[in-house]
Symmetry: C4
Subunit: 264 residues, 4 copies
């Protein structure tokens, strides 16, 4: 697949917030284009204090598009609430071939940043290849960090209604993890916690191990760092991330009040 750089056609404003401003770039005029959704969601996540100070990120696989092997990745080390659709790295699965880089854009559009391949890329790829995910969200949520400081190997919580927003996953006959419904109110949500490493890409092995060891999970917590959450589509990933963060925030409050997270 060819990877035309659309940067020259784009203006300084977000395609989403100023409709019609990018009429020469048909895909960017669609607010549901993965590159636009990444921008929209990063603004939302910024307002939630999940990606402040360049932290966190998001990647979307174009599962509803013409080629579901195409993956869009927000750039690393930049202000997430201010990224534009043409600043994404685009790769194709399974070989992670680079199709488009923001560094190929005309310099007048991108001079403020020196774009680096996201350090999260191998982690996002693990979610795509091991779980057939449609999107992966990484935040530096303070509730996530706090829970990892209050827990050992896993975060576990039960008997909270919000748990029902999360998927019930099972390993099928072919050894593949599939969604078989939603979690129940009385189920115990178990999210594995892996230890942080000096370099984000070095998390890959332990993240993959956690994904293998916890086939029921849709997320992995990273101690003193944040969380990775994935889902079968970008909207599912968003909903799962919101539901989990709600539970993490509640768990911190429960801990302060001396209430155990798992009901006997």
């Amino acid at each position: 697949m060819s990877a035309p750089c659309h940067c020259a056609h784009a203006n300084q404003d977000s395609a989403v917030s100023k409709p019609g401003s990018q009429s020469n770039v048909p895909e960017y005029s669609d607010p549901n284009h993965p590159a636009n959704l990444i921008c929209e969601l990063c603004r939302l996540f910024y307002d939630n204090n999940w990606v402040t100070g360049t932290g966190g990120g998001i990647s979307i696989r174009d599962v509803d598009g013409p080629d579901p092997n195409i993956v869009y990745i927000a750039p690393s080390g930049v202000q997430k609430e201010r990224i534009r659709p043409w600043e994404m790295f685009v790769v194709s699965l399974p070989d992670e071939k680079l199709l488009q880089s923001p560094n190929d854009c005309p310099p007048e559009l991108t001079k403020s940043y020196k774009y680096k391949p996201s350090a999260c890329t191998p982690l996002f790829m693990s979610c795509y290849t091991m779980r057939d995910a449609g999107a992966c969200i990484h935040t530096h949520s303070q509730s996530a960090v706090m829970v990892t400081l209050l827990s050992q190997a896993t975060f576990e919580i039960s008997h909270i209604e919000q748990i029902k927003a999360l998927p019930k996953l099972e390993v099928n006959e072919e050894g593949k993890v599939v969604k078989v419904g939603s979690m129940q109110y009385y189920d115990t949500l178990v999210i594995p916690i892996i230890d942080n490493t000096p370099h984000e890409e070095d998390l890959t092995d332990s993240l993959q191990e956690a994904i293998r060891n916890y086939p029921g999970t849709s997320a992995v917590l990273v101690r003193r760092h944040g969380i990775y959450v994935w889902g079968e589509t970008v909207w599912k990933a968003k909903v799962y991330n919101e539901a989990i963060d709600y539970l993490l925030e509640l768990a911190v409050k429960m801990h302060a009040a001396g209430i155990p997270w798992v009901k006997k």
Copy 2:
């Protein structure tokens, strides 16, 4: 009453945020149409962390419209801040006859969701039939959940000015609960707490029992789950929900500081 599906005339944007875009659907061009108000209020509730991750919901009975027996209900299991006016379930009282379903809409408008009848529906209906409510709000407010974890059968608080925003209810000669004014500053607000059940519809019996046993209440808390609040109109329900959530949030802070909720 016939139930025309207006989906084909609607565009992808909210009728409220893009005035004029649904000129073929007169009722949706009115920002005070129940379907539009549900959308507007769900966005507000999302910003308050009350309906994140598809949690919570709202239903409005069209008390000011041509047929006050028509009830609009937000769909279940979807992102509440992104629903559109044509995604509502519409039923008529008292037999709960289905007048309109978002599943009847053209697939291009609704393909992202498989709409399910809201699990809250029997609970909303209980508020309409037992209390003649004009609207019912259900949130997963963390303050509500925390208070249920810190209480037994009821939540009680007194001597806080905000209590005066709530209605004083009494049983009249005909055995009907009627509003006789506002609560006083020194009154003790009592909200019953029912235990959560694995399936939301199974809450109906205990919710109805709580409504019967507590004729003075405008709300029922559900342990480890959230709260149901109703009022004679949608705006009254909104105000009551805000006032109660203010009191729940304050109660959590008072508990942390060792201050009792009811003043002797």
Copy 3:
């Protein structure tokens, strides 16, 4: 002064958010008209959780207008974030003669509310007559309520930079309270706390007594209720209210961490 009712010329939208929509009402086309500023600030205060559920309010005296004795008062018991400029009560000082009432507006504009004279009115008037204030803000700030639950007769705090945003007041030769500069970092801010009463208007005597006894204060806290803050103009009142609420919020955090409010 005559009191023409401009309601017939107004449309459903705020004069501020839809410029040009009220061209027949020259004063409402000015975003700095007191009636528009009340609407703008109530929306801001709502977002700060200061006036949720119809709580709180604001009044502005038209100190920069043709008659500085004209006072605008937000109506009582209504959703503060949704009020419109023509919904204000307007009175003239010193006799509090009613010049304009929202109840005189055409019913199609105001049918949702039955406007009552604000219960805060005598309290606002006390600030105008005793302190020559240009505006008075009343909030149900939870930090204010919490501090009154943690204090006795006064709230006192010192050695916090934000104190410098507040005015230094002194009684001059004529017995009038005048601003002589700003408070210093090392000054102790003292805000009197009065006990709440069942009816808001019954607070008048104790509020007036507190204003007399504490000539250096620009605010009075009401236990289990909230706070009244005033200033020489609406913008000064806004700044003082923000600075005081910052200090109240910080004080709650300091208390939780065991740090005294006044530095020895």
Copy 4:
């Protein structure tokens, strides 16, 4: 360099929010002009509770403009979220010659304020001259104040992923502090804390001493007051300030949960 006053050409609305309204003032039509960025960022900081009640401020050196010695400074003692681009003080380095003052603007634009030279000016200048900064941010962040109340001479934290957003600074052969990369996850961030003084300008000596004694820092905390953060550009300063405030907020939560800030 001459300092034309552009006030007469400006209207009451922000140049940023109303594009095209200041077509006679070319530089103000650029949203990236330092005067516009100061307005945009002050609105953002206001929403974060960092500059409420006139507290805090920001200064930008025009490092990407025709003369990188030109410095823009937000005025002191005004509502930061409402400033306009023509209300800035503009000086040139190194002699701090005043090029433009908002007091030179036509009175109809500025009547509400009596502009004073910002008390922070010598502190901002210290960051420019001692560290070659491109921008300096000063906030009254409550997390900053709380951390100074919980610490002695420095704030220290380690082993939190967000630390990696901050620059690794070293003194080079010429004795100049230069950025040599980013901090590592396992690095200990050390931010010096200086004691507050009655007058903000009297902080200059101790701030300069802290900058000299802590060549690795990009910020100085002021006890019971707030924080100064600088960076090589305005965007770097913004990112550093967000990352540091995230760490300060997290540190307050860690303290409440009994978790030490520096991991052994």
